[in-house]
């Protein structure tokens, strides 16, 4: 019914929480979806209902909608409001300043306001681990990396990944290409096609929907020649379902593994802390390997035991601080210099 209006939020005894997605929406198979999963879990665990006074989300259809959507949630009186994605940083900052009594959280970037909790991930650490996998498993010593847009965030993936490869297999080369967009599957496919043709056998993508093209190319090649060793490393979520294919009744999967980024965990944690009165306002919480915020996906069928063991060793080294994973190209160069 048309019950819209400001005062409908009514009596509030329960804790309510909501998020604003960026244009990807809650089923982008990426961080928006992951965040929503975390929020849903939080809702269920705390007996909340979807909607006003419980847990909810708003989807943005362009970047001009961020502030409007955040404000809508403020006006619906949610106790904690998440902005999902680095693009929303400015909007969260603005709205947080205007509503100093409200609590906000931002994912993937830092907003320096007392009522905002910033959640970032050490994607480089997770990428390092899948880099180790790739370095150990390549047959051709040629590995590919496909980035969406050339921005610092994606550079973290790239640098961590390359460092991981370098650490275990200094002879292997990593070919890096950027598609210039997160939504151009055709470009992703073309890049993958050219990479696989040049002898690359493993591609790690951090390219959103552009990555669909990478999977598509890998599966087509695999289907044509099931014996060929061809792999994709997924990103953000466990992308094993994307890699599945059947050839002559036999099931294959081109997804070697995925670098997962547990936005769900982070969202859940933050909501929980806020509910318990421990809202980390003004702080930046970095989710890395120790926090289980990033890591290698649970689907590991294609990875042999010994490789997994090596991965685990590196993981421990990183957690212990024995290895510092580079976050950008400059740091990578320094890191690479220490290997040889």
């Amino acid at each position: 019914g048309g019950q819209g209006g400001n005062n409908a939020g009514g009596g509030k005894d329960t804790f309510s929480v909501a998020m604003v997605t960026d244009v990807g929406g809650i089923d982008d198979k990426s961080f928006n979806q992951s965040a929503w999963e975390g929020l849903q879990k939080f809702g269920k665990d705390n007996g909340l209902e979807k909607g006003r006074g419980g847990y909810d989300y708003l989807q943005s259809s362009s970047d001009t909608d961020y502030a409007t959507n955040l404000n809508k949630l403020v006006r619906s009186d949610f106790d904690l409001i998440f902005g999902i994605g680095y693009l929303m940083g400015d909007a969260v900052k603005e709205v947080a300043k205007q509503n100093p009594k409200k609590h906000f959280a931002i994912v993937d970037t830092v907003v320096d306001e007392p009522n905002v909790a910033s959640i970032t991930f050490k994607e480089h650490e997770g990428s390092f681990l899948v880099g180790v996998v790739a370095g150990l498993m390549t047959k051709t010593n040629k590995i590919g990396f496909v980035g969406g847009m050339e921005i610092p965030l994606i550079e973290k993936f790239e640098s961590g990944f390359r460092a991981g490869v370098k650490a275990v297999n200094p002879k292997a080369t990593v070919e890096v290409q950027y598609a210039g967009a997160f939504d151009q599957a055709d470009k992703g496919k073309a890049i993958a096609s050219s990479m696989y043709a040049s002898g690359i056998d493993i591609i790690y993508h951090a390219a959103g929907a552009t990555g669909n093209g990478v999977f598509s190319e890998a599966k087509d090649l695999k289907k044509k020649d099931p014996n060929r060793e061809i792999w994709v490393i997924g990103v953000d979520k466990d992308q094993a379902p994307e890699g599945e294919l059947k050839v002559g009744g036999k099931t294959y999967n081109v997804t070697l593994t995925s670098m997962v980024k547990r936005v769900d965990v982070a969202v859940y944690d933050t909501a929980k802390r806020a509910k318990e009165g421990d809202f980390p306002g003004g702080k930046t919480i970095e989710y890395g390997l120790p926090e289980n915020g990033v890591g290698i996906a649970p689907t590991q069928d294609n990875i042999p035991e010994n490789v997994l063991k090596t991965v685990d060793e590196w993981k421990q080294k990183i957690i212990k601080g024995e290895v510092k994973v580079p976050t950008n190209r400059k740091e990578y160069e320094q890191f690479a210099a220490t290997i040889k």
């Binding site: 409007t68 959507n69 603005e94 847009m149």
Partner: protein, 348 residues
């Protein structure tokens, strides 16, 4: 004559109405409550001062992109490149906005001028190619859109940014931000740009309808041959038309850069403002006053749509459907005219 005037207003109005009715049918057919849907839509656009502020903020760039498309149309050109011109205008405005320390009275106009010039430059290229080599402006402007997107991203990344993906905020002296609007609209992002947009509509009307140059531009737009016979410089006018159109688009970008966002971030894709501008211009009958109204309609639909999923459960895409239907009905004004004449005859 009089009935023509009346029809000019009546037809878009009826088209909007028919679009809404058709939208209701779609909602009914897919199991939504159209009354709730439209209530949410209207509430989300005008329900209180905050929403009104947001609607006006969204209307602002639509006015300018609509003017850009319309100006080109009126001078016989089809500018699909408004999107790209807007992006470079945005970039230029922000660039000036962050790089100088000047008194507001100089800084803000300078930033706006930079945006207009950047958009104009982006229009100049297809204009020159059309004028001298007769290359179709549609292809060139499509290509220029992509170039604008990638080049702007690269510049943001390498020149303008501190964080790699976005610029610093523009200086206060170049900002369109309005404390006054902020206060009366409960922190909406509405900014002073709306005055600039409305002024631009006036400028376009005045330029085309009242000035000597406008006479020339329109004449060349309608009939290049006759214009040439009458001693007009056809090439110069084609180029000028694209340049002015691009300048409007560039200023639209400044609205985003100096007003709504106050900075510029790398873009994963087009803003859509430029493409929507085509529809705004056409619904507005390519006329300055009509564009003010159609931009408001667009702004309201877009902002109001955000309320539909949460309070009526209707997907925002429904608004795209309604917009499309309205455009169809406006386009098919012959049908409406025919219906009107039928109806009038029946009444007689």
């Amino acid at each position: 004559m009089k009935s023509n005037r009346l029809q000019q207003f009546l037809i878009p109005l009826l088209a909007v109405l028919l679009g809404m009715i058709a939208g209701s049918i779609v909602m009914l057919a897919s199991g939504y409550n159209p009354i709730a849907g439209f209530y949410a839509l209207v509430y989300g656009a005008f329900g209180d001062t905050y929403y009104i502020g947001e609607t006006i903020r969204q209307t602002t760039p639509y006015i300018l992109t609509g003017l850009a498309v319309a100006f080109a149309f009126r001078t016989g050109l089809f500018n699909i490149g408004v999107e790209g011109q807007l992006i470079v205008g945005w970039l230029a405005a922000v660039w000036v906005g962050v790089s100088f320390d000047l008194p507001k009275i100089i800084h803000l106009p300078l930033a706006l001028l930079a945006a207009a010039l950047a958009g104009a430059l982006w229009g100049l290229i297809p204009g020159v190619l059309k004028a001298y080599l007769k290359v179709h402006e549609v292809i060139i402007t499509i290509m220029m859109n992509y170039i604008a997107l990638h080049v702007t991203n690269a510049i943001i990344r390498s020149v303008l940014s501190d964080e790699g993906f976005k610029s610093k905020p523009v200086k206060e002296s170049a900002s369109l931000h309005s404390d006054f609007f902020d206060a009366i609209t409960h922190h909406s992002t509405m900014h002073y740009g709306i005055f600039i947009a409305v002024a631009a509509a006036f400028v376009m009307w005045f330029l085309l309808e009242r000035t000597t140059k406008g006479f020339e531009l329109r004449a060349v737009g309608f009939n290049q041959h006759a214009s040439q016979y009458a001693g007009m410089n056809v090439r110069a006018n084609i180029i000028l038309a694209m340049v002015i159109s691009g300048a409007f688009a560039g200023v639209a970008g400044a609205m985003e850069g100096l007003g709504t966002f106050g900075n510029i971030s790398t873009k994963a894709g087009f803003t859509g403002l430029g493409f929507d501008g085509i529809a705004v211009a056409l619904i507005g009958g390519n006329n300055a006053f009509g564009i003010l109204l159609s931009a408001l309609l667009f702004g309201a639909l877009k902002v109001g749509a955000l309320e539909m999923p949460s309070s009526a459960g209707v997907p925002t895409e429904l608004v795209d459907i309604i917009i499309a239907l309205i455009i169809f009905f406006v386009a098919s004004s012959y049908m409406i005219r025919w219906l009107l004449s039928r109806w009038q005859k029946g009444a007689e």
